[in-house]
C-alpha cells in the first residue's frame, strides 16, 4: 500500500499563486491532519489530490499513482468527503448509496451489505428511505461519509469531517477514523477543529499562505516552537497570527 506524496506542488489561479511549492509525505495507515487558516490553500490541495483540479507544477502521487497521469486509478482508490457535500436532493439515501456504489463498479448486493453497517453506525437507518432534500446538514455529511467508504478505499480524504455533526456523531466519527487507520487505511484530514487533530492525528502539517510552515507530531511542533505546555491551538495561533513573512516557513 502507498500513501500520499506531494512534491513541490504549486497552483495558481490566473496570476494569483495559491500553493507555493508544498511537499508532504503521508505514510500508509497514517491519520494525517492538514491545518491552516481560511484561504491558506487546504481545499485547493485536497482538490488536486482528488483530481478535481490540475496542479500548475510539481507532482502528486496518491496510492502510488500520479493524479495527472492516472486520475482514474487514483479515483478508484480514494474516498472523498468535501466540507459541503452537495448531494442529489431528489434521491433517497439508499438510492444515493446505490448510485455511488455503481459508480465504483460495486454490485447491488455489495452496496447493500457494506452500507448496512455504516448506516447503523451513523444512525441513518430511520432516514435512509427519505429524499435527501429532507436531510439536515449533519445527516448529509454522514451520508457523504458513508458513500465515500462504500468501496473500501485505500485512502480517505476528508475536508472538515465534523462540521454540522452532533456530539454523538462527532464521537463516532472519531472512533471510525481511528478504526480505519488501525485497519491500514490512510486518512488525510483537513480541519479547523484543532482538538480533533490533536486527539486523533499521528502527524499534522500547517499550511499558511500556500506554504507548509510546520509539520510533524504535535509533540514535535511543541518542541520546535519551544512551547512545551502549549496546546495545538496555541501553537497554531502563534504560527499563523500575523502570518510571518511569506516564503519564510518558521518550522519547516
Amino acid at each position: 500500500m502507498s500513501g500520499i506524496v506531494l512534491t513541490d506542488l504549486t497552483k495558481s489561479y490566473g496570476a494569483f499563486p495559491v500553493l507555493r511549492g508544498i511537499s508532504l509525505n503521508v505514510e500508509p495507515g497514517e491519520l494525517f491532519g492538514f491545518l491552516g487558516p481560511n484561504g491558506a490553500g487546504k481545499t485547493t490541495t485536497i482538490k488536486i489530490m482528488t483530481s478535481l483540479l490540475l496542479p500548475s507544477g510539481g507532482r502528486v502521487e496518491v496510492a502510488g499513482y500520479d493524479v495527472v497521469e492516472d486520475p482514474y486509478e487514483v479515483k478508484r482508490r480514494v474516498g472523498f468527503v468535501p466540507d459541503r457535500p452537495f448531494l442529489y436532493d431528489k434521491l433517497t439515501g439508499s438510492e444515493f448509496l446505490e448510485f455511488v456504489g455503481h459508480l465504483y463498479d460495486l454490485s447491488p448486493a455489495t452496496v447493500r451489505e457494506r452500507s448496512h453497517e455504516l448506516i447503523e453506525l451513523f444512525d441513518l437507518s430511520e432516514w435512509i428511505d427519505e429524499l435527501v432534500e429532507a436531510y439536515s446538514h449533519g445527516m448529509r455529511q454522514k451520508l457523504a461519509m458513508t458513500s465515500a467508504l462504500l468501496h473500501e478505499p485505500e485512502i480517505i480524504i476528508i475536508d472538515e469531517p465534523t462540521v454540522g455533526l452532533d456530539p454523538r456523531s462527532q464521537s463516532r466519527m472519531k472512533t471510525l477514523l481511528s478504526n480505519l487507520t488501525a485497519k491500514g487505511h490512510t486518512v488525510f484530514l483537513s480541519t479547523h477543529t484543532l482538538e480533533i487533530a490533536e486527539a486523533l492525528c499521528t502527524r499534522v502539517a500547517i499550511i499558511h499562505r500556500g506554504e507548509i510552515i510546520a509539520r510533524g507530531t504535535v509533540d514535535e511542533l511543541r518542541r520546535e516552537a519551544r512551547r512545551e505546555d502549549s496546546s495545538l491551538e496555541e501553537i497554531f495561533l502563534g504560527l499563523t497570527e500575523g502570518g510571518g513573512p511569506v516564503g519564510e516557513p518558521s518550522l519547516v
Binding site: 482514474y72 457535500p85 452537495f86 436532493d89 431528489k90 448510485f99 459508480l103 428511505d129 429532507a134
Partner: protein, 564 residues
C-alpha cells in the same frame, strides 16, 4: 424599497461587465433582425387586409389584434404565475428577507415589480413589432402610443397581480405540499387554458368562409368580440378605437375600455395585496413542510428503470437511472411535460383541421409537400425540447459534480449517459409525431420511410449537440435550467441545430421532388430516384454523425480541462 432592489440591480450591473459589448452584440443584432422581420410581415399582412377589401380588412385587423392580445395575455399570465411561485416561495434570498424586519406590504410591492419585470420583458419584446406595425399602417398619432403604454402597463399589472394571488392561494389551499409541486398544477392549468382557447378561437373557420350561409353571416361572425370579459379584449379594443379601426375614433369607447383596464389593474393589485398580507406567512410556512411519498419511490419503478437501463455498462446505467429518477421527482422539471403534451396536441390537431380538400384536385401535392416539410418541423420541435430538457443537464450537476469527478466515472461516460437518457424519449416522441402526422395526411410509404429515417438521424445529432454544447459551456451557477437554455450555450445550440435541420431538408429536397414527380407523372419510382434518395439519406446521416460525435468530443474535452 431601494435597498430591497439593490442586490438584484447590482448583480445585473456586474453580470454585464465581462465580455463587454462583444458578448451582448450578437443577441442585440439577432433581436433587431427578429424585430425587423416580424415587423415587415405584420405590415404586409395589415396592408393586404386594408387594400384588398377595406371594410373586411378593418374587421380582420381588429380581430387579429384581439387574438394577438389574447395569446399575448395568456403567455404573460402563465409566465407571471410561474415566476410568482418561484419568486414568492422558492427564491434563495427569501429566508434572509423574511428574517429581516421588512413589512409585508413593502415585500409585496418589491415582489410585484420584480415578478412583473421578470415575467413580462420577453412578452413585451416579442410584441413590439406588432404594435408598431399597427401604428404605422393605420397612421397612428401620439394618442395611440400613449394608449399602448396604458394598455400594456395595465395588462402586465393585472397578469402579475393575478399570478401572485393565485400562487399564494394555491399554496394555502393545498396543504403540506412543497411549493415546487405547485408548478405541475400550474402547468396543468395552462394546458387546460390552451385547449379552451383553441376551441374558443376556432382559427380554422377564418379560412373557410364557405362554411357560412352568406357573406354577411361571415362578417358578423368575425365582428363578434372574442372573450369580451378579458383584459386582452379591453386592451385590443382601446387600441383599435384609438387607431380608428372601427371606422372612426369613438371617444366614449376609448374612455370605457381605458377605464376598465385601469380599474382592472387597480382592483387586481389591491386583491393580490390583501391575499398576500393575509395568507403569505401561512403559505410560506406550509411550502416548507415535508413532501409526501411519490410513486417514483416505489420498488416497481426502480426495477423497471434498472431493467430498461440494463444494456448499458454499470456506471452509465447508474447515471441514467439517477437522471431519470431525479427528473421525475422534480416537479419544476417534469411538469413541463404537460407543456409538451400541449405542443403535441396542437401540432397534431393542426394537421387534422388543415383545409386540404379546399386545394381541389391538387390536394395531394399540398399533402406531400406538408409531409416533407414536417421533417423540418419535427426537427425544430426536437431542438426546442432538447434545449429545454437536455442542454442544461451538465450544468444542473453543478454542485454535485465533485462526486462524479472524484469517482472513476469518466467524463465521456457521464456525457453518453446523458445522451442516452435524453435521446431515447425524444426520438420516440419525434417518430410518434412523424408517424401520426403522416397518417393524418395519408402520405406515401416512401415519404414515411424517409421521414422516419431522417428524424432518427436528426434526433441523435440534436441530442448529441445539446449534451456536447451543454458540457462545453456549462453554467454551474445558474439557479435553474431555463437560465442555461437562455445563455450562450443555448443560443449556440439553437443556431447549430437550426442549420442542421435546414441543411438536411435542403439536401433531401431534390431527390424527394424527383421521386414525387416520377410518381405524379405515373412513371413510377425508378433506380435513379431510389439512388438519389439513398444518397440524400446517407448525406444527412453522415452530417448528423459528424455533428453528434464532434460536439460530444468537444464537450468531453472542455469539461475535462475545466477546473472546479
Amino acid at each position: 424599497m431601494k435597498t430591497l432592489f439593490y442586490p438584484r440591480l447590482a448583480g445585473l450591473r456586474r453580470e454585464q461587465r465581462p465580455g463587454g459589448i462583444h458578448r451582448i452584440s450578437v443577441p442585440i443584432v439577432l433581436g433587431l433582425v427578429f424585430w425587423a422581420a416580424f415587423y415587415l410581415v405584420m405590415v404586409r399582412v395589415l396592408n393586404h387586409f386594408t387594400t384588398v377589401d377595406p371594410d373586411l380588412g378593418r374587421i380582420l385587423a381588429a380581430k387579429l389584434l384581439a387574438l394577438l392580445f389574447l395569446l399575448w395575455l395568456s403567455f404573460l399570465a402563465f409566465s407571471a404565475l410561474i415566476t410568482a411561485v418561484t419568486q414568492i416561495f422558492l427564491a434563495r434570498d427569501l429566508p434572509m428577507w423574511l428574517a429581516a424586519p421588512i413589512p409585508l406590504r413593502r415585500l409585496f410591492r418589491v415582489k410585484l415589480v420584480e415578478i412583473a419585470t421578470l415575467a413580462s420583458w420577453t412578452a413585451v419584446f416579442l410584441a413590439i413589432p406588432v404594435w408598431v406595425a399597427y401604428g404605422v399602417v393605420f397612421g397612428a398619432g401620439w394618442t395611440y402610443y400613449a394608449a399602448l403604454v396604458v394598455a400594456v402597463g395595465c395588462c402586465v399589472t393585472i397578469a402579475t397581480s393575478i399570478g401572485m394571488l393565485v400562487a399564494v392561494a394555491l399554496v394555502n389551499l393545498f396543504p403540506a405540499r412543497r411549493a415546487r409541486d405547485l408548478l405541475s398544477l400550474v402547468a396543468l392549468m395552462f394546458i387546460a387554458a390552451i385547449v379552451i382557447l383553441l376551441r374558443a378561437l376556432r382559427p380554422e373557420e377564418f379560412v373557410r368562409p364557405e362554411d357560412f350561409g352568406t357573406w354577411a353571416e361571415y362578417l358578423v361572425s368575425l365582428s363578434n368580440p372574442t372573450l369580451p370579459w378579458l383584459p386582452s379584449y379591453w386592451a385590443a379594443r382601446l387600441l383599435g378605437e384609438v387607431l380608428g379601426v372601427y371606422n372612426a375614433v369613438h371617444w366614449d369607447a376609448v374612455t370605457l375600455y381605458g377605464s376598465l383596464l385601469v380599474v382592472g389593474a387597480t382592483v387586481s393589485t389591491l386583491a393580490a395585496a390583501g391575499v398576500f398580507r393575509e395568507m403569505f406567512r401561512t403559505g410560506y410556512s406550509k411550502s416548507q413542510e415535508a413532501r409526501q411519498v411519490q410513486w417514483t419511490r416505489r420498488l416497481w419503478w426502480r426495477r423497471t428503470l434498472q431493467s430498461l437501463a440494463r444494456p448499458f455498462p454499470r456506471r452509465v446505467r447508474a447515471m441514467i437511472v439517477k437522471d431519470v429518477s431525479t427528473f421525475f421527482r422534480d416537479p419544476g422539471q417534469w411538469s413541463q411535460l404537460f407543456l409538451l403534451l400541449a405542443v403535441v396536441a396542437i401540432y397534431l390537431y393542426n394537421f387534422r383541421v388543415l383545409p386540404l380538400d379546399a386545394a381541389g384536385g391538387t390536394g395531394y401535392l399540398l399533402r406531400d409537400l406538408l409531409a416533407f416539410l414536417n421533417i423540418g418541423l419535427v426537427g425544430f420541435v426536437v431542438t426546442a425540447l432538447a434545449a429545454r430538457f437536455i442542454l442544461p443537464g451538465v450544468s444542473l450537476e453543478g454542485h454535485t459534480l465533485w462526486l462524479l469527478q472524484s469517482s472513476p466515472l469518466t467524463i465521456e461516460e457521464m456525457l453518453w449517459a446523458k445522451f442516452w437518457s435524453g435521446f431515447l424519449p425524444l426520438v420516440a416522441l419525434a417518430e410518434l409525431l412523424v408517424v401520426f402526422s403522416n397518417a393524418l395526411l395519408q402520405t406515401t410509404l416512401l415519404l414515411s420511410v424517409i421521414s422516419v429515417a431522417t428524424v432518427l438521424f436528426l434526433s441523435a445529432a440534436i441530442v448529441g449537440m445539446a449534451v456536447g454544447l451543454g458540457a462545453s459551456h456549462p453554467r454551474f451557477d445558474a439557479p435553474d435550467s431555463s437560465q442555461v437554455t437562455a445563455g450562450y450555450a443555448g443560443f449556440l445550440f439553437m443556431v447549430m441545430s437550426a442549420l442542421l435541420v435546414l441543411a438536411s431538408v435542403i439536401v433531401l429536397a431534390w431527390p424527394v421532388y424527383n421521386s414525387f414527380r416520377a410518381s405524379w407523372l405515373g412513371w413510377g419510382v425508378g433506380a435513379g430516384e431510389w439512388g438519389g434518395i439513398a444518397g440524400g439519406l446517407v448525406a444527412v446521416g453522415g452530417v448528423s454523425a459528424i455533428a453528434l460525435f464532434a460536439t460530444m468530443q468537444a464537450g468531453s474535452r472542455r469539461l475535462e480541462a475545466r477546473e472546479l
